[in-house]
């Protein structure tokens, strides 16, 4: 199965698992005013629509890669970041619907884009962004031109022998991916701003639930952003490792070091890919479960199940 095929199967599998986890359990929503339930469902719809748009853009990038071989996989390289960024931008751009005249309450707590961001969420975004940027700069600086003159190869020379391997994340891939990394971070901030700027639940006495949905959506945003950054990191690490492994035969006394570096990058690439898929599935799960997570509790096991257990 080709690389894009593996990615597609993994993504579809993650979606199926996420939906099963989110919908397989029976939820009993606490009695809440209809306008509160409607508001939470609207927020869920917004988040799910953003994730669906991201998935559509990712699929489009994969189709473009398949149909435009001359692009040398560039759309695959920037696809995850563009997909997540597009979804986050759509989420940030969708404004609230107008509310009917009535009685509304507001707390005096100041909300900012960072109000509901935990240290863990911030690190989940910043660490892969930093690693991705550092690796892109390193591979960009160590890359070389291929036969077409594109900076997407790596070359090593030792005495009279030399070896070149491609694809390699040289500037042909690294430059646009650096731009996309910045795009992911900016659109994440935009989405976090939308979470803080969205109006409170339309009923007084639901301040705790209001905070809970904001925390939940910040986690969705964090999962989506980090999934894209980790998918990007996975590609960079994997192809950098693969390239280094290929040229290690002509590296002379540096062969052992290159092989170790290659092995580390390959493992990091595969590990990052797995975590990226898990994070993407978590984003979808959390988005689908939003109203239940804010209001509900799991229903007790039916009597027939309890007797079998």
């Amino acid at each position: 199965m080709s690389g894009p095929g593996v990615v597609l199967v993994a993504v579809v599998g993650a979606v199926i698992v996420a939906l099963w986890a989110a919908l397989g359990r029976q939820w009993r929503l606490r009695s809440a005013p209809p306008e509160v339930v409607a508001a939470l469902r609207a927020l869920r719809g917004r988040a799910v629509a953003a994730i669906a748009l991201a998935a559509a853009v990712q699929l489009g990038a994969m189709l473009l890669a398949d149909r435009n071989q001359s692009w040398q996989g560039l759309s695959l390289a920037v696809g995850p970041g563009l997909a997540a960024g597009t979804g986050l931008l759509a989420f940030a751009a969708i404004g609230a619907t107008t509310s009917a005249p009535g009685r509304y309450a507001a707390t005096l707590d100041v909300r900012t884009p960072l109000t509901y961001v935990s240290t863990r969420s911030a690190l989940g975004l910043l660490v892969p962004a930093a690693l991705s940027t550092a690796l892109l700069l390193a591979t960009g600086l160590t890359g070389s031109a291929d036969s077409s003159g594109r900076e997407r190869a790596v070359t090593i020379s030792h005495g009279a022998t030399s070896a070149t391997a491609s694809p390699y994340p040289g500037w042909f891939y690294a430059a646009p991916m650096l731009v996309v990394t910045a795009f992911i971070l900016l659109t994440t901030v935009a989405a976090l701003w939308r979470v803080s700027a969205t109006a409170a639940l339309p009923a007084s006495g639901w301040e705790r639930e209001d905070r809970r949905w904001r925390v939940a959506l910040v986690r969705v945003v964090g999962c989506l952003g980090s999934a894209a950054l980790l998918a990007q990191l996975a590609g960079i690490a994997y192809f950098a490792g693969s390239g280094l492994r290929s040229i290690s035969t002509a590296s002379g006394d540096r062969r052992a070091a290159l092989l170790v570096a290659a092995a580390c990058l390959l493992v990091a690439g595969i590990g990052s890919f797995v975590i990226a898929v898990v994070r993407a599935a978590a984003a979808l799960t959390r988005a689908v479960r939003l109203p239940a997570d804010v209001l509900g509790a799991p229903a007790p096991m039916p009597p027939s199940s309890r007797s079998r257990a």
Partner: protein
């Protein structure tokens, strides 16, 4: 907590201004505390940003809040009503409620005695 009722005869900006002024003078909102931005409060109360802006402007004119680009909108220190007066008001409000009088009638009684 600020509550705006679109069905009330009191205009929304006056509801916001009055409730904020009461919270500041009663000490429920402390001096130096930052208030929500105009956009945030307007979104939560489902009113136009200009309505909140007008309420904030009147509160600033009354010396209860300060507004700056660097620090946002903050409650001015030292605006709390004397605790003795608040205690007396609590006693009066409790007595008024016990005889079934609403806020309008209670305030009318104060005005009558004040004269």
């Amino acid at each position: 907590m600020i509550i705006v009722d679109s069905g009330s005869p009191v205009r929304p900006f006056e509801q916001i201004r009055g409730q904020l002024a009461d919270l500041i003078r009663s000490g429920s909102v402390e001096g130096g505390q930052r208030l929500p931005s105009i956009r945030q409060l307007a979104a939560d109360l489902r009113v136009a940003p200009g309505t909140v802006a007008k309420a904030y402007a009147e509160l600033e004119e009354a010396g209860l809040i300060t507004t700056s680009r660097a620090h946002g909108t903050r409650v001015r220190a030292g605006q709390t009503t004397a605790s003795g007066l608040l205690d007396a008001a609590l006693v009066y409000a409790t007595a008024a409620r016990s005889v079934g009088v609403d806020l309008t009638e209670a305030l009318a009684a104060v005005r009558a005695q004040w004269a």
